[in-house]
Amino acid sequence: MKKTTRLGVVAASAALVVSGLTTVATPATAASCSGTIAIIAPLTGGVAFIGKEQQGFAQLAVADYNAKNGTSFNTKDYDTQLDAAQASTQAPNIVANKDVLGAMGPAGSQEVLAIGGLLGANNIALVSPSATRTNLTAGTFPNFYRPIPNDGLQGPGDATYMAKTLKAKEVVVIEEKTAYGTGLAKEVVATLKTLKVKVTNIAVNEKNADYAAVVTRVSKTTNFVFVTFQDAAKSEQVAQELIKQKKKAVVFGSDGSDQPTFKTPGTLVSAFAPDVTGLPVAAAVVAAYKSTYKAEVTTFGPPAYVAAQVIVEAAGRACAAGKPNDRAAVLAEIAKTNIKQTIMGNALSFTANGDVKGGRFYIFKTQADGKRKLVA
């Protein structure tokens, strides 16, 4: 064998070895790694603005992962309209789609209650960017994870802030009769009672449109009206109606009110995510979202990016471990999630129940110019 030929063989062999090593070290670069991340979100209906933002951020997360690793994961949309019944009709479609490896969503707690069992029985992980009801991680849905804190932190946190920091003596809690609203209201009412605050709980139907009659029930001595809506326009309506009826109470909205339409100066709102628009770690994603979708970033989008990132990274690891297109393997990998820094600025790993470790809520106050300022 000629020397050059021998060198060629050696070089080719070395290349094969290096290639093989590379495959073992970072096997997610294999183009054969593919599969579908389901996006379960309210893409139409009254709160489609939430679903659209979640969809956009989730798509970006998958695209970013593919770009970095040479994989071919994709997304498929499943519209729930934030409605448990609609989610239930979508669940069998998700299960039947053999390409689905995991699901980003659903947005609402009531939808998780409706479909969590069926998807769990089929080893499909649900990683929700906004379902905060406390008992979703009580053990019923071992396939459920969320990169955001739960209402067990939000409710008591908001109530304690009203009672201790803002010295509230009398609070009205408007409980929208949804899985989210009822669970959160229960937490807030219980904490306020513990802190010796006078509480009145008013339950309202989700379909209610005019809140004038409800505001009339608020006494003039009430300090805060805590609202559990998932539509910020309703929270704004309550805030304006209080002014119209010359009542001094201030509206305190839960994370469901964390939208630009809730903007009356002096109102408070809690959020499960920080404002990422000023975070350097999120700059590229925020810029990509704005240029691709021509929309503003709220606190609903970034957790969707992280949720999709959790799934696609788990799918990549499962694929690298020789288990491509294996839902159970992806589910197992999600439990091992360990992201050093997400675009929300935090490190992310999960408790055994699927909650984020070290999660916290953020409380913002709306200023006279309509902008929000972090107060707690």
């Binding site: 339950a203 449109a209 009659a213 009826q245 010359k246």
Partner: protein
């Protein structure tokens, strides 16, 4: 007492909006004996037209014309736009079925309803748009009497809805088209033999009923702020219920039914249960229907005898 008074003010304002929607149902039913279930979605389109006119005039923060002029234009364009939409709906969804079975126009109406909702979704997206009323009409505007507060927007909506109702009543009773409308409602065949242009009168009927829905849509936007593609369903159902309770086909009945529905809903929310106010409201209305099957003013209806 002031609590009751405040709830009555709340209810009458809401009832005014319901009454305008109910009038649309009753006019069409009176003339054609069909239930125009797309009416709630025409109301939605009116709310959107008002919103986009507002945006076109500089938006809620910096209107390019005085606020009163902006609101006037919002109402006029919304009423004209929905009125024309009503004519189009009649021409393509109802006229071909005029001599068909009674169920056919009903199905067609449901089809138009879904079509309008989805068209709005495609054109305007699913985002909730806000009239942001407090940016150009101060929430502190209004007056108080005996601890009852009525703000500027509520007062405006109440006065305008009553004015539109009485304007409609005068139009039906005092114009040639209005008289022709009543004649067709009474006996269409005889009206044709008397030389009345039935198609023209039906076009007018749809124009006026849809224009009222458009006005109600703008009122809703000013009052409750949020506008979205699915907003017409519940008010549409309530407007229909108000029309039936008042006596469908009866113009005074629709007015009474709408106001009554608004007041009952408000009192149910204020005294019984906010969560079950619709259940309480509709249960009471079932009782009314059992006692007066033709509706409260059904005997005075302009329906065919």
């Amino acid at each position: 007492m002031s609590y009751l008074g405040q709830q009555l003010v709340n209810g009458l304002t809401l009832g005014g909006v319901y009454a305008l929607i109910a009038l649309g149902y009753t006019l069409v039913y009176g003339v054609l004996q069909i239930l125009n279930f797309a009416h709630g979605d025409v109301y939605m389109v009116g709310a959107f037209i008002g919103f986009f006119v507002m945006v076109g005039l500089g938006g809620p923060l910096k209107p390019s014309v005085p606020v009163a002029v902006m609101i006037l234009i919002m109402f006029l364009v919304a009423m004209l736009g929905t009125g024309l939409l009503g004519i189009v709906i009649e021409r393509f969804a109802y006229r071909p079925l005029r001599n068909s079975t009674r169920i056919a126009p009903l199905i067609s109406a449901l089809g138009v309803s879904i079509l309008l909702q989805n068209a709005a979704l495609l054109l305007f997206s699913a985002n909730i748009r806000s009239y942001d009323t407090s940016s150009y009409i101060s929430s502190t505007l209004g007056f108080s009497f005996a601890d009852i507060t009525i703000d500027g927007v509520r007062l405006f909506v109440l006065v305008l809805s009553i004015a539109l109702m009485f304007g409609l009543a005068r139009w039906v009773n005092g114009t040639q088209v209005g008289r022709a409308m009543r004649a067709i409602a009474y006996d269409r065949d005889a009206a044709v033999m008397m030389g009345i242009d039935v198609d023209k009168v039906i076009r007018w009927t749809f124009f006026v009923s849809a224009a009222l829905a458009g006005a109600a849509g703008v009122m809703n936007g000013l009052l409750l702020r949020g506008v979205s593609n699915g907003m017409g369903l519940v008010p549409g159902l309530k407007g229909f219920t108000a029309a039936v309770v008042g006596g469908i086909g009866s113009i005074p009945g629709a007015m009474l039914g709408g106001l009554l529905l608004g007041v009952v809903e408000s009192l149910a929310q204020g005294y019984l249960s906010t969560n079950f106010s619709d259940t309480i409201t509709f249960a009471l209305l079932i009782v009314v229907m059992l006692l007066k099957p033709n509706g409260l003013l059904g005997k005075r209806a302009i329906v065919k005898a």
